[in-house]
Symmetry: C2
Subunit: 339 residues, 2 copies
């Protein structure tokens, strides 16, 4: 990173987030921090919703991907980027690469949500599908990168990615402070931990008394258990399927976990039903489209996983890329697909 | 109005919008002016989306209702307000009344979208249902107001309402200017004309070279035809049904039409299919929930009703209160309700 690493034991410092903010300025959307009368009444607190579902390519992932590409040499930009992702990083990377004029190869599982595959292609990404049961995306991605001389852009375990996602936290802190609210907590969905790690570094610098919590779907609570254990733990290989396709990383990252361990208060866990309820709430009361993985932090608040009474709590709505059929079945369970 | 009326031939002047902005500050949401890479690429222009679907109670109507109540005497606030509406004014008025501690009676047709009736009740509105075929909402409303000593709050033909809705236009002009964009046009959905009238007064003051256009659904193009005729024309009484329940006012208002006549360039008209396409686009690419009446201006842009090439165009996304069953059937036409 160009900024000095004050604490060399961690992948990034707040200076890296300052640099990332400058890099993405005018390219990423400074997404609104929404408030809802209904939600405040229902929770007895003041809830600040960071609407990253309104980000370019529909999730926060654009921030990190753009920051990574902005820090490549001109020559490396021309040679292109390679990434693997079940969907949101794919779209964010494709959008960032398109904006910077860099060719992007994206390795995606053949069972990823159709809308994510289509959107990645629409954003100029050259999509390479693989079979999640029989092939390794890492092997395919590394082979492609070597063949093309392209740069691998990981979805979370990379300092530029973590710093880029961390800009979300800096914006939350700045806007909450401008509204006179001292944040008691920030709730962040967690897959590999890039978003939470970045946000936690921003929060530690800008609002050190604010607690950061991860939120994960049941059976994919590797981060919550790793935080308790003090070392990285993995999800069970036979975990039942989850709607939260964006949050199924098997374990926290090697760069993200030391940051989470230092900065995160605890990990919260929500059920699939609670996620569905949050998606319906966002549809009915907020007029926002959330995908399951993007709704877990809201689900934690709505289902009482954290005390909200009299508290100022920021909730990251991290993404909204969801297949129409699934969304229709969640908001209106009486519908059924015609076969 | 407290502000001087410079042109006494019209119901409001820009000074009334300045006063309304001060009245709603900190109570209404300053909704974001969103931009979408995809939409800009598709239209060849720069499109600014004013997301009033993120307003309190899910549509711009809160602005006018709040401004009306903020200008009542303390005594009148206590006696309460009465309004009639198919839904969005109902919810906006209920929310504003609840915030100011004023009892609200809302007269709604029994065939209004269920979600709008439920939300009005959830916001503390005392809903009185009537039969649209056999009863007069005006008679019911006036009788209630007389009985209770309450203030009638019309949905568009009122200077405070028009000025309140006009704050939307002032925010659009300010934010577009702060981004260095000279607006070529503003597209606004039109029912009775309160929103367009208010916006047009703000635009005439802040960005006089910007053209204002109304957008209406086919068969309910009373405003477009009135603008051509130079006098108020009505919709046919046997017009086929429309999904755009928010835009079915029979004719432009007596206070709004003189303003529209002076300030509006022309009226655009979109089909029901084009409205559905816009709702799907907002769902897929913007992660926003729009109701049919809230999507007509976006529909006009997507279907090429106005030249967008190289142009800066603001589009008002006026509301997002839609029944889940209808939304599901629009975003995923292969779903069908189980009977």
């Amino acid at each position: 990173m160009t900024a000095p690493l004050c604490d060399t034991s961690l992948a990034i410092t707040y200076n890296d987030i300052i640099a990332a903010r400058a890099a993405i300025k005018g390219c990423a959307v400074e997404t609104p921090l929404l408030e809802s009368q209904d939600l405040n009444r229902r929770t007895g607190g003041r809830i600040f919703l960071k609407a990253e579902c309104l980000q370019i390519a529909g999730s926060f992932k654009f921030r990190g991907a753009y920051n990574r590409i902005a820090n490549l040499s001109e020559d490396a930009v021309k040679r292109g980027v390679v990434g693997w992702s079940s969907g949101n990083h794919a779209q964010g990377l494709a959008a960032a690469a398109q904006m910077r004029g860099s060719p992007a190869k994206i390795v995606m599982p053949s069972d990823a949500p159709g809308v994510k595959i289509e959107n990645t292609k629409a954003l100029g990404g050259d999509v390479v599908l693989y079979n999640r049961q029989t092939e390794s995306r890492e092997e395919i991605g590394r082979a492609l990168a070597t063949e093309l001389g392209a740069t691998l852009v990981p979805s979370y375990d990379d300092p530029f990615i973590i710093a880029g996602q961390g800009t979300t936290g800096a914006e939350i802190c700045d806007v909450a402070a401008s509204r006179g609210a001292a944040l008691d907590a920030v709730l962040v969905c967690c897959g590999g931990g890039g978003l939470t790690a970045g946000i936690s570094v921003a929060v530690a610098a800008l609002s050190p008394r604010t607690a950061v919590h991860t939120v994960e779907p049941a059976h994919y609570d590797d981060t919550a258990r790793s935080l308790v254990a003090g070392e990285r733990r993995a999800n069970a290989s036979d975990a039942p399927p989850s709607l939260c396709d964006a949050l199924l990383a098997p374990t926290p990252g090697s760069l993200t976990f030391p940051i989470l361990k230092k900065n995160v208060r605890s990990g919260l866990v929500v059920s699939e039903d609670e996620v569905g309820e949050a998606i319906r709430y966002a549809f009915t009361k907020l007029n926002l489209v959330l995908e399951p993985g993007g709704a877990v932090a809201l689900a934690a608040v709505l289902s009482g996983k954290i005390d909200t009474t009299g508290k100022n709590i920021a909730v990251v709505l991290s993404g909204g890329n969801i297949d129409p059929a699934l969304f229709a079945s969640i908001i209106h369970p009486k519908t059924e697909e015609i076969r």
